[in-house]
């Protein structure tokens, strides 16, 4: 029987000839990812009677959610994690400033084609950009994997999205993803495996593809997959931590939903308050006043995102009385942005550049809005209260639009400033 990507990889991991949607399989993941929540997971692990983890080499631990520590309480949380990785012999530990876990997993060659990655973070599907099966799970079940090395998974139904044509100039994969989320809504791919196919996807650089798999969490997907190609293999050449075998869906696999989009019709899109599926074309919300612009996150904090924003900000200034915060997604990106001069462009424009991590995305620190303020952000979530106070509004957009809005002091397209 021809199988989708999800059916095929879960069959392989469960050592079964095939699987069907709805089937429950028990598997051992290849990589398990946890971040600042490693400490509370450790507490759950101990409550289960756990002493030594099942396999320290499965673990990737990245501090990113509140780094550097904004309070003593956060610092204590980090200390517990540092002690934990030492005591358990976990070597894939990335301390503060290394970057956001999803980006770090890719950069460190731990997101590999044909492998299963489970993370105690909802944006774990990000790693599907490299051809992995990557899904988010909860803390207790993460602790249980630490203890027994196994977890039950339901084989998901699959959605096949084919994108033909090519994106117009100035339109990014962020706009494409928001367009599709607006079309399919927040539960459009609930519990599904979302596969991306078509010439428009193959034409995207890896960083732009990652925006797609990252954002599928906002459509309810369990995982999201982009078929690995030469771009993927070239990137992994000096990074892959071990040999891997890519898995592709079969030709005539059966999909629960098949959709086709024409990239040529996509225009700059904005997710408006307070849900990611409240998507409108930029033309309908232009002129909305903003207080703060935020460029960064696992969704759009990579080098070409910073490049697009720097191009807009070159020789310009952030509007008087407005603020812009820039947070590269990783140390590697931070360094490259320093060497290419983007950071200088940001600083000269009047932006604040901060150290790699999640920053204010979920309201922890480094630029949370005041009551009544409006933020335009490159992040993946704009839920009420997401950035700290429920009395504020968050608009989501591409890096160039966020930069242009910082200059204009209101939501604007780069060509209109």
């Amino acid at each position: 029987m021809p199988l989708t990507f999800a059916e095929k990889i879960l069959a392989k991991k469960a050592r079964l000839p095939e699987t069907v949607p709805g089937q429950i399989v028990e598997i051992t993941p290849d990589v398990i990812l946890s971040h600042d929540n490693t400490a509370p997971i450790y507490g759950l692990f101990q409550r289960m009677g756990g002493e030594k983890v099942y396999n320290p080499d499965m673990h990737a631990v990245v501090l990113d959610h509140a780094t550097p520590a904004p309070s003593t309480k956060h610092a204590e949380n980090h200390r517990i994690i540092r002690d934990f990785v030492k005591e358990q012999g976990i070597t894939d530990f990335y301390d503060i400033g290394r970057g956001i876990c999803h980006q770090v997993l890719v950069e460190s060659g731990l997101a590999l084609p044909g492998e299963v990655i489970l993370g105690s973070d909802s944006h774990t599907p990000h790693a599907g950009v490299m051809g992995a099966f990557a899904a988010g799970i909860g803390r207790t079940e993460m602790a249980s994997i630490w203890a027994i090395g196994q977890i039950w998974l339901r084989v998901p139904e699959s959605m096949r999205i084919t994108v033909s044509g090519s994106l117009p100039a100035g339109v990014t994969s962020k706009d494409l993803a928001l367009y599709i989320i607006g079309d399919q809504k927040a539960d459009g791919a609930l519990y599904m495996s979302v596969e991306w196919h078509g010439e428009a996807i193959r034409a995207l650089p890896l960083s732009q593809r990652a925006t797609l798999t990252n954002l599928m969490a906002e459509m309810g997907a369990k995982n999201s997959f982009i078929p690995p190609d030469q771009l993927t293999f070239n990137y992994l050449k000096d990074r892959a931590r071990r040999d891997f075998e890519a898995i592709y869906p079969d030709e005539n696999a059966r999909y629960t939903v098949e959709m086709e989009y024409d990239a040529g019709i996509i225009e700059p899109m904005i997710a408006c308050p307070h849900t990611v599926d409240n998507v409108k074309p930029l033309s309908e919300v232009r002129g909305t006043p903003i207080d703060q612009a935020f460029l960064g996150t696992c969704t759009n904090g990579r080098l070409d995102d910073l490049a697009a924003a720097a191009e807009v900000l070159e020789g310009r200034k952030i509007a008087s009385g407005k603020r812009m915060i820039v947070i590269p997604a990783s140390y590697e990106i931070y360094l490259a942005a320093l060497q290419t001069g983007y950071l200088e462009t940001f600083l000269k424009a009047g932006a604040v550049v901060e150290s790699p991590g999640c920053g204010p995305c979920m309201g922890n620190h480094m630029g949370v809005p005041a009551v009544g303020e409006v933020t335009i952000s490159t992040a993946n979530r704009n839920f009420r209260g997401r950035m700290g106070t429920k009395e504020s509004e968050v608009y989501l957009a591409s890096p160039a639009v966020v930069a242009a809005s910082a200059v204009a002091g209101e939501i604007q397209h780069p060509k209109d400033i």
């Binding site: 759950l44 409550r47 309480k73 909802s122 079940e141 249980s144 339901r154 979920m362 209260g385």
Partner: protein, 166 residues
């Protein structure tokens, strides 16, 4: 608990984890016992003070979407909420419910019929919801998952498995 009898707190579609348990507390409130006081804080400020053991939450589509934060389940299970009935659940939230032995029931017909504030009965074993408008059936949990549920949650389940493996 096989039979649940409680008052209904009814909400709409796409209730996300940021309003069920705000992100700003995720690293400052770590004691599960303290979590109920922030439950649904940004959605319904009356909930935390008014919820009684066995009360039932009724939601629309995609209940619990957003972050994977398990506190959004624990703040309700610690408040002794009897069950959540919804049209559909976000998948990580659904898993977190089962792993914390909080019944998560998919039953769109019941969601339509149940009124805010009424007393309802949920029988987990028979898969029946009884409310003023009538009786509604829901499918039982998959067998593999029932084991975790019956153990009282994944902590107890894994504990037993670790002990058995010695």
């Amino acid at each position: 608990m096989v039979n649940i009898q409680g008052r209904v707190w009814k909400y709409g579609d796409s209730i996300n984890t940021d309003v069920i348990f705000p992100g700003k507390y995720t690293y400052t409130v770590s004691d599960p016992k303290e979590m109920p006081q922030h439950a649904l804080e940004d959605l319904d400020p009356k909930f935390a003070g008014g919820v009684q053991p066995q009360d039932v939450i009724v939601g629309g589509r995609n209940w619990g979407c957003g972050s994977s934060r398990e506190q959004a389940v624990v703040c309700l299970s610690e408040a002794k909420v009897g069950a959540i009935i919804a049209r559909s659940f976000a998948r990580i939230y659904y898993r977190n419910c089962l792993n914390n032995a909080l019944p998560a029931i998919v039953c769109p017909e019941a969601v339509d019929a149940i009124q805010e504030g009424e007393m309802i009965n949920v029988n987990l074993e028979e898969g029946v919801i009884t409310c003023a408008a009538g009786e509604f059936n829901f499918p039982p949990l998959p067998e593999a998952v029932m084991e975790i549920f019956n153990a009282g949650g994944l902590i107890e389940y894994t504990k037993k498995r670790l002990e058995a493996e010695g």
